[in-house]
Subunit: 481 residues, 2 copies
């Protein structure tokens, strides 16, 4: 490493750039520990403060993370992303194929379904039928808010499934759930506006809010939804424009809201005049008789902007979803959608419409629920074997993930690295938290993209880590059982 | 109209809200003149200044426009859009079916092609073949920057067609050209940053820049591209982050850049360190032997971000395009694309890829060029008949529009309204200008969506307007011939 005292660039910036460069070139690898401040200062013959400032800048810029009392580490899968919230995005990058993932990897990181359960044949039928029926018209610009018959189908579908009364004219078709968040953010958020979010939450939403300069305030997530007392205080203190929630099988906690909490949310949003974004990507996947309903189903005052993504329950590559639009915001949202991408593919909307009208949807959901129920049961059974190491979790009876609490002394990044070396991908929980330094003992394990055998094998890898750690340091924690 | 002096809302705001309401409810119609300031002040028993302020607010909020010395008018197709730039958006809303357009309308407003010339059969073949070949994999998340084989096809395609050397890894797939502009804006523009644009230009781009709080500065558009002298001054004065241009058959002027101006642009962008967005949606449509090439073809220093939209030359409902990405911005753009909509439909990318690989593209372009050449020739021939009324235009020998300069005393909004009454849609030129009050005597006539017969009939409607106006007021202008 070269620090040149004869050039005008401040020394800590030279240090920053040197290390950044090494990380970019993969000379320093994810999880690797940087030298201690003292030792590096001595070696480079500079002040401690130079190293402190350089390390601070690296962390700010998203290249490293620090663990109190332990040191500074290179972030996993670093892409020079400038916000700590984007690490989940990194995992999406990995899943998306930008970052390589070995073929024989056991992928507990992805919430996406595997292609074998996609309803390809039925959807193909719909695609071909649309082309034969509509010919060139299948490819004209659809209305900006979406192809009308498709909006009608959705209106019927939501009524039948969730007793939700939304008119076709209250629906805006979007190119997936993320775009819904992006459009609402552009419509409602200006620099400095406050957005309340569940803590922990989906990092893609945080990234969208941040891109418009929002002030993001977390509210702790309890087993029956947001902590209402804290929520109340935060509302009064920050006067939020928006509250972003996932009502059922929340990501990453897998918790679902109680009826009580849902009613309170509607009440508070009316009283304090903020909108609630309800991001629904999993409600359909319940594995017990307790069928969940969205918050939107009890919204009688147009306070909830309901976003429906089909990526996790249908097929991610279609990129079509919808959101409901409060009457007051209709014109603004149309305009923002137009500025964003004119409209979503009219062809895919027509095909999806036909797919719904043919009644294929219901069959598909029943089908995937069978597959997922099996995987869910196996995963829960296997994970219960980890109780004896102090691991705990709630059983969500739905969704695509389990949220695992590790014993206090275990750092999820350690476990993440260990798993990585054994070709198992997991998501360290801390990347979902607003202030990610204080919560380090959670991991999210998803079963959407793994086979039943892989679940068993993958959890064995995790167990081995506990066994090893336990063996190495008998005092580190006391097994619960 | 009710103005209540006993409530605390300022009188001019009450006035504003009253009129706004009447416009929203269509009690005041597009083009209708508001009462004069004096007469309304008298009638409502308030000060002139109250009316002046109320009218000012209406104009600021996009409900009205004023013509110096004439008065204040209700804007056409008003959707309460809060920026004067969005009127072209309104026209898109109309085309998109949000605003009604009668079936037997002669549509000179739309640059979109008509469904009859879409290559539906060939694209269907590709779609079906992809499904048979890839099955469920056709619907997985593609890489965020796009399906790799598709990026390869594009790289080859651009090399063969435009001698453009871009690697597959310099390509980002986007959901249409507008999304490209949105993504670049999010990546590069913060509140107060300066963006230079051609004046007049595409209002959808302006809307995207404005949504990030950019300061937008226009540079006059000459027949061989931007006015270089003015450009030079503006660069020095405003230190722009971006310059947004359409190199060939610019919208709305139809002008194309000379080689000299193109070279100068590259030079300036290097010297003053700003990026150039080249929005290319029409280069392929030349109707003479003079084949145009994009600016990107001579960009040897990664200064040009080239956006390719296929909406106007392929099919708008597909919503797939691409942009080139400077190496330095790659990570940022990936991140922004992910925050915006995760990725563009992988299924459509696969189908489009196969379509290109099968060589259908070349055949399609040859095909539509024949159709458009005919329409172009007819339109030019018919428009020459308007020379005698003082109308002038340049022949672009390409693209999908003609940019008509009207005699000085003709207001394009007048003509727009008159055409509307006769079921002919045209685009008033002023909506493309940054400062839209000073240029009122242009209109854009597009021939993408009209038949040859409609061209003849529609231009006759326009001619009748001139005849009538000429008859009514012999002194208004002197015919040139």
């Amino acid at each position: 490493m070269l620090i040149d005292k004869n050039i005008s660039t401040p020394l800590y910036i030279q240090l920053y750039e040197n290390i950044k460069d090494m990380i970019d070139k993969d000379q320093l690898k994810a999880g690797e520990k940087l030298p201690s401040i003292r030792s590096l200062a001595k070696k480079l013959e500079v002040n401690n403060i130079t190293i402190v400032n350089g390390y601070k800048l690296l962390e700010q810029e998203g290249y490293t993370y620090s663990i109190k009392g332990s040191g500074t580490y290179v972030k996993p899968h670093n892409y020079g992303l400038d916000t700590p919230y984007m690490e989940d995005g990194d995992i999406e990058l990995m899943i998306g194929g930008i970052l390589p993932m070995s073929k024989d990897n056991i992928n507990f990181a992805s919430v996406s379904p595997t292609p074998e359960i996609f309803p390809v044949e039925e959807f193909k039928q719909s695609l071909v039928e649309v082309l034969d029926r509509d010919k060139g018209n299948a490819f004209i610009y659809p209305e900006i808010n979406g192809y009308k018959p498709f909006r009608e189908s959705i209106s019927i579908f939501m009524h039948e499934n969730y007793n939700m009364n939304i008119d076709k004219d209250e629906i805006q078709i979007i190119s997936g759930g993320q775009q819904g968040i992006d459009i609402i953010t552009k419509t409602l958020i200006s620099q400095g506006d406050c957005v309340l979010v569940e803590n922990p939450t989906y990092s893609g939403a945080i990234a969208a809010f941040k891109s418009r300069g929002a002030k993001i305030i977390g509210v702790p997530m309890l087993k029956d939804g947001l902590d209402l007392e804290v929520l109340n205080n935060r509302i009064k203190r920050y006067n939020p424009k928006l509250l972003y929630i996932m009502t059922n099988y929340q990501n990453p906690t897998t918790y679902s809201y109680s009826e009580h909490t849902k009613n309170k949310l509607i009440e508070l949003s009316k009283q304090h005049n903020f909108y609630i974004i309800e991001d629904d990507f999993l409600t359909d996947l319940n594995y017990s008789k307790d069928k969940k309903t969205p918050l939107k189903s009890i919204d009688n005052s147009d306070q909830v902007i309901y976003i429906k993504s089909f990526s996790k329950i249908f097929m991610p590559g279609v990129r079509i979803g919808f959101m409901t639009v409060p009457q007051k915001l209709f014109k603004d949202i149309i305009r923002v959608k137009h500025t964003t991408d004119i409209s979503s593919s009219g062809f895919l909307q027509r095909a999806f419409d036909l797919y719904l009208r043919k009644g294929y949807w219901k069959k598909h959901i029943e089908n995937i629920k069978k597959v997922y129920t099996n995987k869910y049961n196996i995963m829960v059974k296997e994970l219960k074997k980890l109780y004896k190491y102090g691991v705990t979790f709630e059983e969500p009876y739905g969704g695509l993930s389990i949220w695992l609490k590790l014993p206090k002394d275990i750092d999820s990044i350690d476990l993440y690295n260990e798993c990585g070396e054994n070709n198992v991908s997991i998501v360290p929980g801390k990347i979902f938290f607003i202030n990610d330094t204080i919560y380090s003992n959670y991991i999210r394990l998803s079963f959407g993209a793994v086979s039943e055998e892989e679940i068993i094998h993958g959890i064995r890898v995790i167990e081995n880590y506990f066994k090893k750690t336990y063996k190495e340091d008998n005092n580190k924690y006391l097994p619960f059982i």
